[in-house]
Symmetry: C2
Subunit: 429 residues, 2 copies
């Protein structure tokens, strides 16, 4: 913050300036190829950022390729009327290295970080595509449920007071406590704006009646605010903070999680809820992408992915609970060391039951904000026929409302698979 | 932290050095009296610290008196084998000025703060006595329930996201996030040590069987760890952090809350639970201080204080909810501004219901740690007859276990008054 020397001043990269500016960085040159002093001129640079916030370049050279991601001092989607601090790059970098440690191989390798320039050089993932795109295309990826179940369980457990040395965790919490602007975005765009006529909201025209009903729905609005309260106050673990299907890159065999710039200490259930919400939205969007029932198998696949992701999360969380519970909460000294391993199982049930209910609350709200708020998702947005899109979005909104409001009264995932089918097929409406 | 100049070095005050060291501070001299350059020599200085952590001096001069409180770099009770950072004085100072703003007149006025010397000069409260002492003496103070109900409601509501501007609250949360060593003390001494054979524990000899039973009590231990989880992760508001009857000074008409050095962003229910626990302990200790039923009225008084404190807390919290809900949670834009004031009442019920259950959990654990852990309290400790003391402590332990484990299944305070009487009179055991 105090750096004022000219060479420290932030300057946005461009396709033209990138080779000169990064050519002298050994970590980059050794990755992209050629002797550092000769190669930059021969680099092929493309800007591919399609997200809402940042610049993303792919740099290719004789030896290989790298991704260069640079934050901008404003929201790219909106422009410099919406400033956003560069320090989000610092939080992304620190989240990436923690996630790599907690679930090795789950995130792109980081090769270089320049805090002043808000710039991270990382592994170029190829031939990976964005998971959301793959699901829109109807691809049934065999490993994503397992990989994402493991990723969430491992990163969320290992960043919590169930696992970490508590002083280390508190220092880390203080480090991430300053990522306030990105938390603000979630607090406003996810939990509040969808439920009143906020200026930046938009929705598919056919939904007017539905939107009116939801914004008059007392139980839903109180549930959404309760989830906001939990989001804003429950600092349980280092969460990814933006774990939707657009933050996952896949091949048929590999799954990598990207873009953790929203990382902060928050509730364990948040990442899981947002992730499953995006699978449920993919499910409800399939009718918008199919011809003649061609997505029937894809629908079964998605309900299977949701069930498997949750089951893998639960199983791995339980596994870590039994084998790595070295933090200050529910410590062995109180349970196993006194010959009462069943006490540890009881505590595990209580914890997972709480995550389940909160997960449903976060998922329901995430489904609403993607249909009613500012940041829509391509699952629905790529359905060009607005009437058809509204017919897909309507059951998704109802499903979201159901799980958010009834989160403490739903027992298991099979009930929700049934409910999703009934709503999608118009059996209940 | 980086101050190394000799004049900045921390030096503990003594009765002898205090006048010379503080005589040149205008804020002190103008309070204690005489022209600053002449008066220090005539000051009367006493060291009166009877707490576990700090030095406390009363300074009297021609014009008046002041209290000088100085932190030591270790736990006074234990000595320099247990280091404790001086920065707790910084957190106490910042908590005091916030509490004064949020509930004017509830805390001693602060006249001077020296961060390097970990030293706060504040109002000398006279003829106030420590509330715990007054209760042991059987004094029925008419205003404490109302004053403490208002203090908790106002400070806890006004420091939360129900009230504060959210960026201001996040900055404040980051400010207090470094008070980790004092949170550590609570996490260990309150939530964990009492439930296994921790080295610093002690208890009245007659309780051996009871202690064994509690340490084998699975439901209790899981409940205590659940409360620890909530304590450590739910950053809802700026809590006092140590709000027992030893942190309250009273006259028949005045109530002042002191010693907020444990302040941090924690759960709303924590202060209320700790406070009521100490009233319940006072209740169960009365048989140890009476002759021939002379404390019957005091027992009625204490159960009345507990009910009134809770009712005043609830009423004032609801009042502030309806009139000062300007923070980012449950904002008017979603409820009242859409013509649905009943939604705000629904949300209030949900929030208060949650505080109630958590309050009972914290209260139960606090009652245990004061009887089984390191830091006992004078209510029981001043009962010299150990058998009698054990007979007072036993129902208190059972009451604590009951409210901690059943916190989600107790409806109202009158049920607990009945339970306390049944246990105290041996009707149930």
């Amino acid at each position: 913050m105090q750096k004022t020397a000219p060479e420290m001043e932030f300057k946005a990269l461009s396709v033209e300036t990138l080779p000169a500016r990064l050519g002298s960085v050994d970590a980059v040159a050794s990755l992209v190829g050629g002797p550092a002093e000769n190669s930059p001129g021969s680099w092929k640079v493309r800007e591919v950022g399609d997200g809402n916030l940042n610049l993303v370049f792919i740099v290719e050279g004789a030896k290989g390729a790298a991704v260069v991601k640079q934050a901008l001092p404003y929201v790219r989607l909106v422009g410099d009327s919406w400033p956003l601090p560069l320090k989000r790059s610092f939080f992304e970098y620190h989240a990436l290295i923690r996630q790599e440690k907690r679930d090795p191989g789950s995130v792109p390798a980081v090769h270089y970080f320049d805090e002043e320039q808000a710039l991270i050089v990382m592994e170029f993932l190829s031939p990976h595509v964005i998971l959301r795109r793959a699901l829109i295309d109807g691809r049934e990826l065999p490993n994503v449920a397992r990989d994402l179940g493991l990723f969430t369980a491992r990163t969320l457990f290992r960043g919590s007071d169930f696992s970490m040395e508590h002083r280390e965790r508190k220092a880390d919490l203080a480090l991430f406590a300053d990522n306030t602007e990105l938390c603000d975005i979630t607090e406003n765009l996810v939990f509040t704006d969808p439920y009143f006529e906020a200026p930046m909201n938009r929705h598919t025209p056919g939904l007017d009646g539905m939107v009116r009903a939801l914004r008059a729905d007392r139980d839903l609005k109180v549930a959404a605010q309760t989830m906001k309260h939990i989001f804003a106050s429950r600092a349980e673990t280092l969460v990814h903070g933006d774990l939707h299907s657009g933050s996952v890159m896949v091949t048929d065999s590999q799954t990598r999680i990207i873009d953790p710039e929203f990382a902060f200490y928050g509730p364990i259930a948040f990442d899981v809820g947002m992730l499953l919400a995006n699978f449920w939205m993919s499910y409800f969007s399939q009718r918008g992408h199919e011809a003649d029932g061609s997505r029937a198998s894809m629908r079964d696949y998605l309900l299977g992915v949701i069930e498997e992701t949750w089951n893998v999360f639960r199983a791995e969380f339980a596994n870590l609970w039994r084998t790595e519970r070295t933090g200050m909460l529910h410590h062995r000294s109180l349970y196993e060391d006194q010959g009462d391993a069943l006490a540890s199982e009881q505590a595990l049930n209580h914890v997972v039951h709480g995550i389940w209910a909160d997960m449903l609350g976060f998922a329901g709200v995430e489904m609403h904000r993607r249909i009613l708020g500012l940041a829509h998702n391509a699952d629905f947005e790529t359905i060009e026929d607005e009437a058809l899109r509204a017919r897909c979005e309507t059951p998704a909104l109802k499903f979201g409302r159901h799980i958010a409001v009834n989160r403490n009264h739903i027992q298991a995932m099979d009930e929700l698979a049934t409910l999703a089918r009934l709503l999608d097929e118009g059996e209940v409406s």
